[in-house]
Symmetry: C2
Subunit: 393 residues, 2 copies
């Protein structure tokens, strides 16, 4: 910093400080990875940067950016040529060495490495007609001293965009950036773990009803995925998509309040029994009432409303059209589709084509016609989930 003179250094540092705050506030892993690489490129004035994440005793190459090649091929084309690969955490490769030793590796010319345990892999350069020269490789170290990944900067550029080499100053600034990146990555991981644990709990407890119910196996999982796919294809925001994915397994949670003699009855229900059975929507509403988080609020809404029909002939409130909450309209399609396409004690499994045909027929009668249309337009994705989560016979 001293060498670079006051103003210049000051700009770099204030940029670094801004970047550090922005890394911390990014909660989406993919966007965070991009941000780390882009910030590293900008702050160090490099031509290229790559990021590896640790997976046990390997490094997985997850993202790269290369100004020269992106200019030459176009960003999209360049990105499409990149193949994922892994490197052992050992002294044999440069990134592996940084992860293995926890030390920064500063190389002036990767084609002139001598007397080192690691060597440079020229494959990328040869395929892409690129010439890597200077390289700064920094382990991303968390607060406990563990390596969570490696950041690799390639081809330092001077102020006049000439090839240069990485100085002590670049090392310092990249170490700071790397420390912050490590923490940010861990935070995102932690948050993802919490969300996954929550989803896992909802799934298990929703599936617990299967110990009483005739429905078996993967019903709640499939409904969850169908709702997710339909909500996304319908153009809803990603937050809503995630929330309905988490909430929809709970659509039948109220069945817990239905007595065995009705819930488990093999034959047709009498009028009176059917009225009791319908109560599962309202009981679900009671179980999930007054929640203070979005997932449970949505779960309550769809538990109550997933048996309403577009033409007003559903239950419990005989709501009509758009008066039915969107979550209920989405879940209705997912739930009926799953019931039809799988075996039940009272019916065989219908083939997928026939099932989609029924959804189409019922558009505007049972189902929101627009949602039904969108659901049919994503047939292939729906069929994928169906195949992947098939009930065992």
């Amino acid at each position: 910093m001293k060498k670079k003179g006051g103003i210049k250094a000051r700009n770099d540092v204030s940029e670094l400080i801004q970047v550090m705050a922005s890394l911390t506030s990014e909660h989406n892993l993919e966007r965070l990875l991009k941000l780390i690489v882009q910030s590293a490129l900008d702050i160090t004035h490099s031509d290229a940067a790559s990021l590896y994440l640790r997976e046990k005793d390997q490094l997985r190459f997850v993202i790269t950016s290369n100004k020269t090649l992106e200019r030459r091929m176009g960003k999209k084309v360049f990105e499409s040529t990149i193949k994922a690969f892994t490197v052992a955490i050992s002294k044999k490769s440069i990134s592996g060495f940084a992860a293995y030793t926890g030390k920064i590796v500063n190389i002036k010319d990767v084609y002139k490495i001598e007397g080192k345990p690691y060597s440079f892999n020229k494959t990328f350069d040869e395929i892409n007609k690129y010439r890597s020269k200077s390289m700064l490789t920094v382990p991303l170290i968390n607060r406990e001293g563990g390596v969570v990944g490696v950041l690799q900067l390639i081809n330092k550029l001077s102020n006049k965009n000439k090839l240069s080499t990485y100085k002590k100053y670049d090392e310092e600034i990249t170490i700071s950036l790397g420390a912050q990146a490590a923490v940010a990555l861990e935070n995102v991981q932690l948050q993802d773990d919490l969300l996954k644990a929550h989803y896992d709990s909802i799934m298990r407890l929703s599936a617990a009803n299967e110990f009483r119910d005739n429905e078996t196996g993967f019903h709640v999982q499939r409904v969850s995925f169908y709702c997710e796919l339909l909500a996304r294809a319908y153009g809803l925001e990603e937050e809503y998509v995630k929330n309905i994915k988490y909430a929809s397994p709970l659509h039948d949670v109220g069945k817990i309040g239905i007595p065995d003699n009705i819930l488990k009855k093999p034959g047709r229900l009498t009028e009176e029994e059917y009225e009791i059975m319908k109560q599962h929507t309202l009981i679900g509403g009671k179980i999930l009432v007054n929640a203070d988080n979005d997932i449970m609020r949505l779960a309550q809404e769809l538990a109550v409303s997933h048996h309403e029909k577009w033409d007003g002939s559903g239950y419990p409130h005989t709501l009509k059209g758009e008066n039915i909450p969107l979550s209920g309209r989405i879940t209705a399609i997912a739930d009926v589709f799953d019931a039809l396409s799988n075996k039940r004690v009272y019916k065989p499994a219908f083939p997928l084509d026939k099932t989609f045909g029924i959804i189409e027929e019922q558009a505007g009668i049972h189902f929101d016609p627009q949602l039904a249309k969108v659901f049919i337009s994503i047939k292939d994705q729906v069929a994928d989930v169906f195949e992947r989560l098939k009930d065992e016979d």
Copy 2:
């Protein structure tokens, strides 16, 4: 930075950068608040610092540190004199002004404020015989531009520990620190919200069984809190304490698999029916099997083992003593205590004294003797939970 000269600035900046990373990796709110205040004191060389958090249209004063007063009274005594208070977010107070306008307020002497909408409140100084002079008040602004709190620094000290004033440089460094603090606070809040939502889901779905079961109202909540209190008093790590708090409501989740005619039978179960009833432990184990998170793994363990007895006469595996998982031994005490101290269809509620008496009697027979002793030693805390979460009649 320019003015302060290279080396000095460099140390400050590298300290700032280190602090920024450490703020981000602190996930406990209380420790984070302390860290923010302490870091602000250190980096700006101030005598005192306070932190306010935003609550709707108010600022809540949450923490303060004051070197002079801590030296004079001792840290503990000083902290005990501090009273929580709130300030309106308006132009009338200094912290309120910073939050209202989103602007930094730099005052040379708070006793000589003229021509400003805000004034200095002397109460603290008068009570503590302290003299506030220079003051730097910085709004903590998140990435969306919202004010999440206010950081207030008091009495800038020179290198020779003389009273000084805050310069442009202090403003810049405090703004950077504040931005990072805002993000860190939001991250902790987000994580707490996720955990709360998860707990809420577990509670609701555990309580859903009450729609079938004879047990009513707050049973699962109380068991959860009793397990938490007992685990903490027994000296277990806070992570385990939190996990058992979350996991224990699920101890009877397997009852979902018990038929109505047994679960809801008002009279005594026959030998055969009792054998089926006992299966709820193993069914719980199946519902919760193969989880990939700590809470659910613990829930599985205690669902299976909470009916084992210390002397080996329990079920399902007639385990003995320390062969019974700790979580099962803890939940056994909480569950039996709650069953005894509340009304059931087959028995009246026992008074708390009698209930504790039974726990004591059964130490070494039904219960782990050490855990039973600890549980009795926290009678008052247990009674608090009992009173707070009383079943309605």
